[in-house]
């Protein structure tokens, strides 16, 4: 029973990180219909920046804030400089661009910070809670991870649902031509969307770095599981991305705990294939009716 509780709670914590990556992918997909294959590299790069700041200032929270801010800036720059010129080109152009950006960021990170893996501090203690004389694997840092991801997801939901900026962003994402005719600066809304998505990805980076360690290629698996979570929840659904991430985290935790961690990548791909076969639009996608 303790093992089941341990696996469930740690699955929720890992799932929260998958949810953050999935949310970043979904935000960009909804806005610009692009799968950002550079998402993992972008969050890696901003986590390296955070590490440098933490090392030089001694302040974790300052580094945390810098990671989020640099994610905002990086996302805005990528959209404006790389993605905007190809927004009317075939979709393959943007895919190739994001793959090229991935290669570029990994190479530059290696040149600046080296290719050796290094540790990254956690926000809170990694010592598990003690309940009734039993020490769980669930830690204060895990509580922080879940809380901050839910807070960010809730904050984004409030932004989109209750603010004029959010209304403009959704209009630009759903119907850019109509939105333009109504005076919405669609290009600017896409830039804001990419910035927020990259910030969410950067959050995932600093949260996962203590466990996967920091290296130019260490975050690739996170992108894959984040993508699976996004497909599971529905690429068009931000709430689906969060729920998909949490469900995937728990499922993979059970696989790791009961069958072995070597099976986790396979399990993630099996889940992806099953979802694509049974409900390809994801668990939370809205059914689109067709007029006949």
């Amino acid at each position: 029973m303790t093992k089941f509780i341990d696996l469930t709670l740690s699955g929720v914590s890992t799932g929260a990180i998958y949810a953050a990556v999935a949310l970043a992918l979904v935000l960009i997909w909804r806005a610009t219909r692009i799968v950002n294959f550079a998402q993992g590299a972008m969050l890696m790069f901003t986590t390296f920046i955070a590490s440098a700041v933490i090392t030089s200032t001694g302040s974790y929270w300052f580094g945390f804030a810098v990671a989020l801010l640099s994610g905002l800036v990086l996302g805005a720059i990528v959209e404006r400089v790389l993605i905007r010129p190809v927004e009317n080109a075939p979709a393959l152009n943007a895919v190739i661009l994001t793959l090229g950006l991935y290669i570029l960021l990994v190479a530059v990170a290696g040149m600046i910070w080296g290719n050796q893996t290094r540790s990254f501090p956690s926000a809170f203690s990694l010592r598990g809670f003690e309940v009734g004389g039993t020490r769980l694997l669930f830690t204060p840092n895990d509580v922080f991870i879940v809380a901050v991801v839910i807070a960010v997801a809730a904050g984004l939901a409030l932004l989109f649902r209750t603010t004029t900026l959010g209304l403009r962003m959704r209009a630009a994402a759903f119907a850019p031509e109509v939105a333009r005719l109504l005076g919405v600066r669609v290009g600017r809304m896409f830039t804001v969307g990419w910035a927020l998505a990259a910030m969410t990805g950067s959050l995932a980076g600093v949260l996962v770095a203590p466990s996967v360690f920091l290296g130019p290629n260490n975050f690739d698996p996170i992108l894959i599981t984040g993508f699976v979570a996004a497909v599971l929840g529905g690429l068009d659904s931000p709430p689906g991305a969060v729920v998909g991430g949490l469900l995937l985290g728990v499922a993979l935790s059970y696989v790791a705990g009961y069958e072995g961690s070597a099976l986790v990548p396979l399990a993630a791909l099996v889940i992806l294939v099953v979802v694509l076969m049974i409900r390809p639009t994801g668990l939370f996608s809205a059914t689109k009716e067709r007029r006949v």
């Binding site: 004029t164 209304l167 209009a171 759903f174 119907a175 109509v178 939105a179 005076g183 009716e289």
Partner: protein
């Protein structure tokens, strides 16, 4: 209208460019009570007639001086077409709007217009008061379909 947004969100969108000069939504709901009933529903769930009301309502939020309508009766049942044309006339009269109505349903359009212009292949073939257009049998048969 944007199908994924609610009725109210679509209306709000129409007034963003106007800022503080936009009409309050209560005015639009007064003109279109059906929209108020459905304010929280996605626009995709509206009927054809309600969607046209929403499109016109969204345009009115911006307090325009002129309304350009491109075949608003397309796809609507005849009863709804009559209601829509009557509504357009009422808007023009009560709000002092200039309305440019492009319609293939000439009979309905002429019933509410102050002036009618008939175009054929981009050229003006008639520019008259609607009674005279409707009264010209050869013109009606050749261009207006009734």
């Amino acid at each position: 209208m944007i199908a994924e947004l609610t009725v109210e969100e679509n209306l709000r969108l129409g007034g963003l460019w106007r800022g503080r000069g936009a009409a309050p939504l209560s005015e639009i709901y007064e003109l279109f009570p059906r929209l108020e009933e459905r304010r929280g529903q996605p626009a995709s769930t509206l009927s054809g007639g309600e969607r046209q009301m929403l499109s016109i309502g969204r345009a009115l939020v911006g307090r325009p001086r002129a309304l350009l309508l491109d075949e608003p009766s397309l796809g609507l049942a005849p009863r709804l077409v009559a209601q829509l044309m009557s509504l357009i006339r009422k808007l023009a009269d009560t709000l002092g709007l200039a309305v440019l109505l492009v319609e293939q349903n000439a009979r309905s359009a002429l019933s509410v217009a102050n002036r009618g212009v008939v175009l054929n292949l981009g050229r003006v073939v008639a520019d008259e008061a609607p009674e005279r257009l409707a009264g010209d049998e050869s013109l009606r048969h050749a261009y207006l379909g009734f």
